[in-house]
Amino acid sequence: MMALRRDGTTSTISGYAIETHGLTKSFNSFTAVDHVDLTVHKGEIYGFLGPNGAGKTTAIRILCTLLLPTSGTATVDGYDVVHQANEVRKRIGLVSEKLIMYPRLTALENLTFFGKLYRIDRNTLQKKSEELLEMIKLTPFKDKLVGGFSSGMKQRINVIRAILHDPDILFLDEPTTGLDPQSTRFVRDLVKELKQRGHTIVLTTHIMEEADELSDRVCIIDHGRIMAVDTPQALKDRYNTNSLLDVFLELTGRELRDSANERISMRAPMGRM
């Protein structure tokens, strides 16, 4: 069913923030995402877990309109990621593994630059930036070049860069990787705070306690396929353990995952799997 939105666009009526059907992405002979059907509820934190190379990042990049799916469909906030990419883009925020920050711009300049891409008017943008900088306790550094910041500072500002335009859905791809315990704590609390503010959050992480602590539901994916989706507690109950790590290893196996698809790593440095 289609619905006419207040802004004049039409979208699929669905109670879900994200919905995919048979979503598949192949790079030549390698299938990174293999017929994935998933649903993310509005307002939840959705933990997206899987070993390296399982297809998490590829799936997120498709949902963010950065990659085109090979087959299947995906809607974000009711909009099709292929045919209504621009509508999707207005409603999402992305924190990817690589920082989306220009080192030779100041904190405030970075926020202003990215904010303007969303056509936020100057005054609102200024107010919003200052308010968010205050929230992440970086107000004293707002006029310093981001290049000189510590990893923790960079990541905090990177997160608020993604929510400047108040996106309905926020994708956080390993937001705490490489951070010290203090910054990790801060970013996790920030994620909870963002949920409180009503953002839907898709979070990938390799830290199982983090997924356990933050996620309303987790989805464990391997070889491009969904292995299990449920609340962390239900999963732990199902496998009769009190650690999500055990569930994870039970589902994805204990051996190391070393695989390389040379053709892909050469051709698509952006499309990490």
Binding site: Q84, N86, L94, L99, I100, M101, L117, R267, P269, M270
Partner: protein
């Protein structure tokens, strides 16, 4: 579905790129140093060239004060007079430093050791021949290991003996005819005088500077766009642009704009330096120059975008642009006249837009050509712009969402 180009965001993207350059002081330093270095190098490599002027007897040289030796085997009066004249003219015009050596063998040894560039031999019987009313011969050996110097030395020696010979002819004719006929009429009944295309050109550099300007602007922005796009792709900031609701054309145009500004700054630095240091003069309209440079950039920047779209990383993209740009320097008529190249190379050279941009710019700067006069060049550049851009933009789009 895509919105039309949003100019304010395009400008923002361009401004940020330029700010990046401005804030990296080291990069900025080398950015300015590059044209200075290029200019000084080539400026001094192509020194002022004076042409032989028969009326004043000036020869002029690009290689002043080369060491040569005179081997005098004849002790007659005429031989001594000719030798003295040769030494005097050489010194006066700063052509050669002339030493005298007793034997040809000794002089030849010095030449082999690299101490001499040429040997002039006045053979035995020189004076006798002249006294008997016969033409006399001077023999010359030059250092043939360096063909350029060899031909310069050879022709300068001939020029000096021409001057000496002419004055002897004049004297002979006057002696014979008592001044009834002009000696010049006997010696050179027909003479050729050049009317300069533009007056006051002191240096062949006048012809090189426009080419270098076009080269710098065009290759600078070609390489710049490829580097800027692939750098952002690699850094991850490109994701930040692509994930936002702006048309992708704005990203490309923003980058192109920034790199064009950078290219133009370097181009005009080159022009300024050539005017200051090497006396290059502009005879044409700065506005038309600007138009030509902009078109030149536009014509080729699409190729940079195509390369970024194809190349997996920044390094490869840079390598690809280098490979394109290096031969372009040599076969587009920037450093060497294109007519000097073999036919197939001329074809390649003329298939590249740099040739037309340089050609048009040269005509504007030196010949004060109007826009109408360079219209063929301009049209070709416009066609190039159209072709490369229509290929580049969709390719970039699909490469970004591969």
């Amino acid at each position: 579905m895509e919105k039309p180009i949003t100019w304010d965001i395009t400008l923002d993207i361009a401004r940020r790129d330029l700010l990046d350059l401005w804030r990296s002081k080291m990069l900025l330093f080398f950015f300015v140093l590059f044209p200075i270095l290029l200019m000084s190098m080539f400026g001094y490599m192509y020194p002022p060239m004076q042409k032989f002027n028969a009326n004043t007897g000036t020869i002029g040289t690009a290689f002043p004060n080369l060491p040569v030796s005179l081997v005098q085997m004849d002790d007659g009066r005429a031989a001594n007079a000719v030798a003295a004249q040769f030494i005097q003219i050489s010194r006066q015009q700063g052509l050669f430093i002339v030493s005298e050596t007793a034997s040809y063998q000794a002089a030849r040894n010095q030449l082999v050791e690299g101490k001499l560039k040429g040997i002039i031999i006045i053979p035995q019987g020189f004076s006798d021949a002249l006294a008997a009313g016969q033409p006399a011969t001077v023999q010359v050996t030059v250092d043939e290991t360096n063909p350029t110097t060899a031909s310069v030395v050879q022709s300068e020696i001939s020029a000096i003996f021409n001057i000496i010979g002419s004055s002897m002819s004049t004297q002979n004719i006057n002696n014979m005819d008592g001044g009834r006929v002009s000696p010049a009429f006997i010696m050179h009944p027909i003479s050729v005088t050049g009317i300069p295309l533009i007056s006051g050109v002191a240096s062949s550099f006048q012809f090189l500077a426009p080419g270098f300007m076009a080269l710098t602007v065009i290759t600078g922005s070609l390489q710049g766009v490829a580097a800027a796009l692939s750098r952002e792709k690699e850094q991850g900031t490109m994701d930040g642009l692509l994930v936002s609701p702006i048309p992708h054309v704005s990203i490309i145009l923003g980058k192109v704009m920034a790199q064009t500004v950078r290219g133009l700054i370097q181009g005009f630095l080159i022009l300024g330096l050539s005017m200051l240091l090497f006396g290059v003069q502009i005879y044409g309209s700065p506005f038309i120059m600007f138009v030509v440079l902009l078109l030149g950039t536009a014509s080729f920047v699409g190729v940079g975008i195509i390369m970024t779209a194809i190349a997996p990383d920044q390094e490869t993209a840079q390598m690809m642009t280098m490979i394109l740009q290096f031969p372009m320097m040599f076969i587009s008529g920037i450093m060497f006249p294109i007519d000097q190249l073999p036919g197939w190379m001329q074809l390649i050279g003329k298939a590249l837009p740099l040739y037309y941009a340089a050609d048009a710019l040269r005509k504007v700067i030196i010949l004060n050509a109007s826009l109408a006069a360079i219209m063929p060049d301009v049209l070709i550049l416009i066609v190039y712009t159209f072709l490369t851009m229509t290929a580049a933009i969709p390719l970039f789009e699909s490469a970004m969402r591969r």
